[in-house]
Assembly symmetry: C2
Homo-oligomer: 74 residues x 2
């Protein structure tokens, strides 16, 4: 990702891991030195390569939590 600066401030959890070692993670990430946002995306083992993902505010994460808790995921 040329020109994009990022720093993973905190790893909140791993959703899954692929056979190649990539992990889908929920992180708190600062993009281009801005305030860190929550972020769900795939990362290589060394966190030097990333897939597409979504960034989420804490409000969006809270809403997502409510939605998931009202879904039957069993």
């Amino acid at each position: 990702m040329a020109g994009i600066k990022y720093e993973i401030k905190e790893n909140k959890g791993v959703l899954s891991e692929s056979p190649k070692g990539w992990k889908k993670e929920l992180n708190l990430v600062s993009w281009n030195d801005r305030t860190a946002k929550y972020d769900i995306r795939d990362w290589s083992q060394e966190h030097d390569k990333m897939g597409k993902g979504v960034t989420l505010t804490v409000e969006e994460l809270r809403e997502l939590k409510n939605i998931l808790n009202n879904m039957d995921l069993s």
Copy 2:
């Protein structure tokens, strides 16, 4: 998104809405006629335009739910 066929099978919830009417949604989406997967991304009002996002299996969504329920989001 030229060449990508998609069908929103089910809307599970809205995480947020932008002033322009785009919504960040959790949906069950079938991409290119394949089995529908969970998907978090921004959509235009008519669902004819989309932003980048992540697709998630039910196992990943379940894990995400666990992670969120163990976080302090207040």
